[in-house]
Symmetry: C2
Subunit: 431 residues, 2 copies
């Protein structure tokens, strides 16, 4: 007997039915906004990740040398791959480019609740627009997807921030600030105590007083005050954030957005608006997912300068939120019909099953040469709504029995006229 | 600029739309038979493949040592994984177990037409039934899937064989035959010349005369003659093959099946009925896909003896057949509406777009702050059926313009009542 690898999961049908319902909901929401499905390789050259994130990333990767001597990695995220794809067909692709895909990614990291080594994300991105409507459409898609899942504004919120507000604020202080370290410090604000947080800011170059002023500005989140403090560059960033929020309100996502400047997102490549989705009740304590603008990445991959913005809900953290809110889909099978054979009636049963499948129904028949009772048990186990009993004796009278599994009621109907013209006839149609 | 790995593919939206349509068709056909979706890891322990296929398999694998020192491989096929999953929950799973999944697999091999290092398959399997109806249901699913794609019995055929007929025939000769080598020789019959084929049979232990007799029997495919020649074991296998074909006929797949005993399938783990799907015109010269019975695998994986039968259409060879037959879906985008803004009309345009999306439509709006002409070009590029023009001047009169993109016809309608109660109103509803 072989064991499964740690951090990897087998999804059996019941659990998969719920996951499929959630993935379909996310993808349907994206499709209605005109995001187009793409599909992408599971392996890429390792250098793509090292160039983007530094040698340190290799420890978190499933990286290896292939039989042809290439250094390759299982893709830990989609963004570098879609950037590569945009660059490869830059001239041919009309802008804005709007892509969606759902697939697994892999990172070698500690396994914990809601975090696995193989994890699934739905990536949704817009390339080629710097306009605030692009950021807003990403927020609106995310809001629609979550409300389609049954979540409400009591369940989730988008904490929206802006990298340039933070960056320009740092520059507005009379200090030599390492912006990257400072942004990382902000990203840790909620995860460490206040002393450690201020210490990280001062490691990044702010004096202790400056760090306190910075934190006061950021937590008050008074955009007028911030614009006034920081000068024209901060003003421009504040203006962009406001434009995005206005567009998001027009697009129907306003009620879910709140300004939260201490939301910084850890990833280095973000450039403008960034946001994270949180459980409003706080019961799921970590960010559920996040997104934002990354206007420099395509150029750094060798392409024409191309603004970009995206979001990538992960299925595992999303399932924690949905389960907390009581909207995770039921983990059970659904079957429209079981066509049960008693005696030598396979030809008639098969004809009925085919006709019912022609109506788009899920229809099972006996493929195990089993008894009436065993077939009925199986039909019950797959939650068949209706069982059609095709028995030798009934057939002598040209009849089959239609049984409603919920009530146990049954009636006989002429075999020849079943299912007839109805797509999905049930007991109720014959009583 | 980074390059893609050899044998891996990027699927851009147009091509992906066609692939998605084909995958949906396969999965819908499987769902109607009550096959239940599962999902499975991309990585497994390498020993699982070595134990099943020998050390030689490692050369064809993306095999490596992970950061934790485990020998792992990218899954080259699904069967060992589903066997592992069946064994892991043997007691809890009610039989028959009927599973379906579509996902990529990986093999390090020579790239050629219709063969890639990353390739997609839809795997459909039944565990727990030795009855001929199980084999027949797999054939019937495959036939339904292909006819749903628009293929007819002029396009494809299932060449059906039986491992035990071949095995018992070898045993019926007075010779010391290595059955595995002999089956492999049969599998090569169509790929090598007659001399080499007979040579391979004689390497496997038949004399030259026996090899010729064997080949005569196999190619004549007269089941009565074969049953008579081989004794009771061959007779039993012939009986099983006939029962499967009878059931397949009842299940509606009869017209696609023909007995072809020289179809042996290369994989060693098949045990009973095996079959391959071929292009009837021969234009696609290789087998499109294949399947069959593998009753011993679960036990060899440490489980209770559990009969099994399955099929795994691959998307790349299937696309060759569909393209040859002219039924590969159109590689193009589909968009129901583009809501075009002229001037400061974003709020009204956004409201209309949301209402249309509420009706399940694919609706794009401007997210790039572009001119009328640029928006119209984009709408044309995504094949929008209807463009709703929300212009400042029209809105002063409380109107928007509805334009049919195919004919170019347009008319004004009251903005407030659009889209109204209709889910998908078009120009034709207002003219």
């Amino acid at each position: 007997m072989y064991d499964r690898l740690k951090g990897f999961r087998d999804f059996y049908p019941e659990e998969m039915a719920a996951r499929r319902a959630v993935i379909d909901t996310l993808e349907d929401a994206a499709a209605r906004y005109g995001f187009r499905e793409i599909d992408t390789p599971a392996l890429e050259r390792t250098e793509m990740y090292v160039d983007k994130s530094g040698e340190g990333i290799v420890e978190e990767l499933y990286a290896f040398e292939d039989q042809g001597g290439r250094e390759v990695s299982l893709t830990p995220e989609l963004t570098p791959t879609v950037a590569r794809m945009v660059v490869a067909k830059q001239q041919a692709l009309s802008k804005p480019i709007k892509w969606v895909s759902t697939r697994p990614f892999w990172r070698y990291e500690q396994v914990q609740q809601g975090r696995f080594r193989e994890f699934y994300q739905t990536n949704v991105d817009i390339f080629g627009s710097a306009a605030p409507e692009a950021d807003a459409e990403i927020l609106a898609f995310a809001a629609d997807a979550l409300t389609d899942l049954g979540l409400t504004d009591d369940d989730f919120e988008f904490r929206v921030s802006h990298r340039d507000i933070l960056g320009e604020l740092f520059r507005a202080f009379d200090a030599d600030v390492d912006e990257r370290d400072a942004i990382r410090a902000v990203d840790k604000r909620e995860k460490v105590d206040r002393g450690e947080y201020l210490g990280l800011l001062s490691d990044a170059g702010l004096s202790y007083d400056q760090a306190e002023s910075f934190d006061d500005l950021v937590t008050a989140a008074d955009l007028d005050e911030i614009a006034e403090f920081g000068g024209s560059e901060v003003e421009a960033a504040v203006g962009n954030l406001r434009n995005v929020l206005d567009a998001a309100a027009d697009f129907g996502a306003g009620e879910f957005c709140e300004v939260s400047l201490s939301t910084a997102r850890g990833l280095d490549y973000y450039t403008g608006v960034v946001f994270e989705c949180f459980d409003s009740t706080g019961e799921v304590s970590r960010s559920v997912f996040g997104g934002g603008r990354y206007d420099d990445l395509i150029e750094s991959f060798g392409g024409q300068p191309t603004p970009a913005v995206g979001v990538a809900p992960g299925l595992a953290p999303l399932s924690l939120l949905c389960q907390r809110a009581g909207v995770w889909p039921e983990e059970s099978l659904a079957t429209d019909y079981y066509v049960l054979t008693v005696g030598d009636t396979r030809d008639v049963a098969a004809r009925i099953a085919r006709d019912l499948r022609g109506g788009g129904n899920v229809v099972e028949v006996d493929v195990s040469d089993r008894s009436f009772g065993a077939q009925m048990n199986y039909a019950d186990g797959v939650n068949a709504e209706t069982v059609v009993i095709v028995g030798e004796r009934d057939l002598e009278n040209g009849e089959v029995t239609v049984k409603d599994m919920a009530s146990g009621d049954q009636t006989t109907v002429p075999a020849e006229s079943f299912p007839g013209d109805a797509r999905s006839p049930t007991f109720a149609d014959f009583e």
